[in-house]
Symmetry: C2
Subunit: 354 residues, 2 copies
């Protein structure tokens, strides 16, 4: 059984402004290590699948960077979506490529911008998932929840399935805090980390069944795979595909879904407030990066300096980031509000900072 990692790098977003920009979204930032998250994501697969089996799906603005940051990626494995169409069409695109090489090949679909602390545990879980997928299941990983996070979707985990994994009772949207607490204390729920494992033929069959509106397009693409005309067909067909997530389009509808619980120090690194989940803190809980950061009498702060002195004094639980050409200061618990800054910059037409 061969594994085909599919690294989903289509994300844009504003939650890491001023570090992130339109041409440099989160996956290209070295948030958890000295390497960009996408590089970490590819490196994490070492030993599980060769890079020649690895695919990246991303947008045109990010293709060059993605190719550069994942060393050894074959050119033809860089799948560039002409327009963003959410995860179902992106995964279909990768599944068609894999199916052309290896119809029963197992795709491992991974977000490009997450962090995993326990790589060995992660690989073990993926190997187990691949075995379950080989038998025809569409597998989603269910991450053991560590706290009542309101920023994640949840999976209600059901009875054990023959051949491994568990049934999915329900997929749940991001809950409010009270609901999240109930989920976590029940022991019955897992975080939905957006990590999926399935055979190429199985997911294409699922698309045919649950997302028939994609079929005409996928058929056209399937015929063009490996041909010189593929790019032209993609440009014509892809924009017509519906913008639907794999969760909504397939996971919530198919009957051959399995969830495999796992616990491997996962974080989606959702905002600057999550940085302490993925980087070591000092004895006062500060995460400090950059030799010119000057942090005095602070606790629980995230201070990311550029070349010039960035002095932070007497603060608790505040994020301070210098990107070189812009600076952000925001309390950790309001770090989602960074989007308001991006909106303000847009309104002022300060486009070079977007």
């Amino acid at each position: 059984m061969a594994l085909y990692p599919v690294i989903m790098a289509g994300g844009s977003g504003t939650r890491f402004w001023p570090l992130s920009r339109q041409a440099r979204p989160k996956q290209f930032l070295p948030l958890a290590s000295k390497q960009p998250l996408i590089t970490d994501t590819a490196a994490r697969l070492k030993g599980l699948a060769p890079v020649k089996n690895t695919f990246i799906v991303c947008g045109p603005l990010h293709a060059k960077n993605a190719a550069k940051l994942v060393k050894g990626l074959p050119k033809q494995n860089l799948l560039v979506e002409p327009v963003a169409r959410n995860t179902a069409p992106a995964i279909a695109l990768a599944a068609l490529q894999v199916a052309a090489r290896d119809p029963k090949g197992v795709l491992v679909v991974l977000p490009s911008d997450h962090h995993v602390a326990d790589v060995a545990g992660f690989q073990r879980t993926l190997s187990d998932a691949a075995r379950i997928a080989e038998a025809g299941h569409i597998v989603t990983l269910g991450i053991t929840p560590r706290h009542p996070e309101t920023g994640y979707g949840y999976i209600q985990v059901g009875a054990p399935l023959e051949g491994g994994g568990r049934a999915v009772k329900a997929f749940k949207e991001k809950p409010d805090l009270e609901t999240a607490r109930a989920y976590v204390s029940s022991g019955e729920y897992a975080w939905n980390g957006g990590i999926f494992v399935f055979r190429a033929d199985v997911i294409l069959e699922a698309f045919a069944k649950h997302m028939p509106q994609m079929q005409k397009g996928l058929d056209a693409l399937a015929k063009a795979v490996g041909k010189r005309t593929f790019g032209a067909v993609l440009k014509r067909v892809f924009p017509k595909l519906p913008s639907i997530s794999i969760d909504y389009g397939v996971m919530e509808k198919a009957s051959n879904i399995a969830v495999l619980p796992g616990d491997f120090g996962w974080s989606d690194v959702g905002s600057f407030a999550a940085i302490p989940e993925v980087r070591p803190a000092d004895e006062k809980g500060n995460v400090i990066s950059g030799a010119s950061a000057v942090v005095v009498d602070c606790q629980g702060c995230v201070v990311l300096a550029d070349k010039r002195p960035l002095a932070v004094v007497g603060l608790t639980d505040v994020v301070v980031v210098d990107s070189g050409d812009a600076v952000l200061v925001v309390p950790k618990d309001k770090s989602q509000d960074v989007r308001k800054v991006v909106e303000a910059l847009k309104a002022r037409k300060m486009t070079r900072y977007l």
Copy 2:
């Protein structure tokens, strides 16, 4: 009666880092208006005394800047101390210059780095003070206290004097908060703003009487005033003068002291926390400077931006300053702790930022 303003610009200091640096101390910063404080200080005297009567006392590092920032200042009125020797020798230097031109000329000694909101009221008070000084008193202004400030010295005001002004019962060092509250509620105390008015001959007589250790040096300087040798004599003599403040050396000892109470919107602009005392705030109490400041959901903050975006979100009573080559973030009530940053930069030998 001619007035001779003496602008004391010898101050250095770290409380406005990163805006202030060794070569660019507070008096050279546009903290209260678009002009540096020293320019505001000189402009505030318009109509009271011509600039040809105005003197500036400062150190060698700041002479060029001081001359540039006070337009029309005669070259010979820029008095450059070879070394810093506190206020008594600095004032003596100015008094000798004035005495050589006009022995009974009235000096108005002003810190270069303070702010006055009510300029007309300030000028009225100084005119009154000059009349009292003309009669032979050493006059200090006593500023009506607005709150129990622990950062200022206080003057205990006594009975009215014949000819105007009031007796001084006592000069008080910076008090603790409880003492400051008692001072303010008593109605008997005024802030010591470091603004003095006296005749040249009267203060020189006071130096002779109360600081005899300066006399030999002052005599040597007096002989050299207006001669080509003055600079050389100054370099030889000045370093030997004692480093003593006018308050300690004269004010607390002389019997011909008068305090003139005044209320003219004075602030010593002691730290970034004092900026809202001297600059208009928005409806949420934020003082924001710079077109690229992006302030969202903040209250009572001081945000001073440079050219690049400086985004501050969801904070209350925090100071955020971008000097272009360094950034500071500190709660208002800890803004004195900026010195800790300067110490840290020193310890790291990051001297270009000092």
